[in-house]
Symmetry: C2
Subunit: 173 residues, 2 copies
């Protein structure tokens, strides 16, 4: 969810402005860990706060892309929500708002993602992609710009192109 279908960086920018008066931009997060950009342990403070996850903005193109993928794939939403106590109900409510067409049967809140047995995984964190046994796709985020160990997707438009190619390959087998 975070950094793939939910634009969590924009939420960090909003909360930090409200908190400190300083308006960061997305560029400020490039090549850095989010915890380095938000000083004084604010990252941890925000993600463990009530309401943080409830109204995170959507990642551009995410709703349309998931709807499009669902025509040919079984799409599961997998979030490492277990670390943050408030996030469970907030993330569930967020999905009901923005992705009402995703059934409860296809939502997974977990910790460690290494036991997820899907064919593909789109994620922004190397720790999730590295242990994944299927095809791992890295969704670009400021904190992963220096990584080159997984197929990179810079946007949902690129994601759709990738899966169109996968379908073509599958049909020609």
């Amino acid at each position: 969810m975070d950094g793939v279908i939910a634009d969590t960086v924009v939420q960090f920018i909003r909360w930090y402005q409200r908190d400190s008066g300083v308006l960061l931009t997305k560029k400020d997060f490039d090549w850095k860990k989010e915890a380095e950009v938000l000083p004084d342990g604010r990252l941890r403070k925000y993600v463990t706060s009530k309401d943080f996850f409830r109204d995170v903005p959507l990642m551009e193109g995410a709703v349309e892309a998931v709807q499009s993928l669902m025509k040919n794939f079984e799409v599961y939403i997998v979030s490492a929500a277990m670390e943050f106590p408030y996030s469970l109900s907030e993330k569930k409510a967020w999905l009901e708002d923005h992705f009402p067409f995703i059934s409860w049967t296809h939502i997974i809140f977990c910790g460690d993602k290494s036991v997820i047995g899907t064919d593909y995984m789109i994620d922004d964190h190397l720790r999730n992609l590295d242990s994944f046994r299927g095809k791992a796709l890295m969704f670009t985020a400021g904190h992963n710009l220096n990584a080159n160990t997984h197929t990179r997707i810079n946007s949902w438009a690129e994601g759709l192109t990738f899966f169109r190619e996968e379908l073509k390959k599958g049909q020609s087998l």
Copy 2:
């Protein structure tokens, strides 16, 4: 969780007694679906009620068995919690009470369990075991007494015996 480490049938008996004055026994659930034993749609009413999952009693021997298994296996708690809105935070709190030694990294709340890629799964429901790709173990419950398509475990003592044998087999390979 339910029917494996949490004794949900005892919670049904408690709630039904409070609700109707009638005291059922565990035997009343033998060979029947739980929804048949609890009349007038009460099953659905209970599991969608606030507080139902918060204080379900422990299944006999579950805590000790999980602790014992953790010496040789990586144990994940997987619950189809996504169907019931209140259950997410209640089940998380329940696990913190009774299984504080299970890390958040090893807890998974999902819908459909078919994407869980563990080596073994212990469950009471055929719908979860049938689609599982690893070794499926059926934990005995009243509603699954007529099933014979999976290795049956009648108690946590039997579960521990099963896994001791698996370890021996693994060591002799």
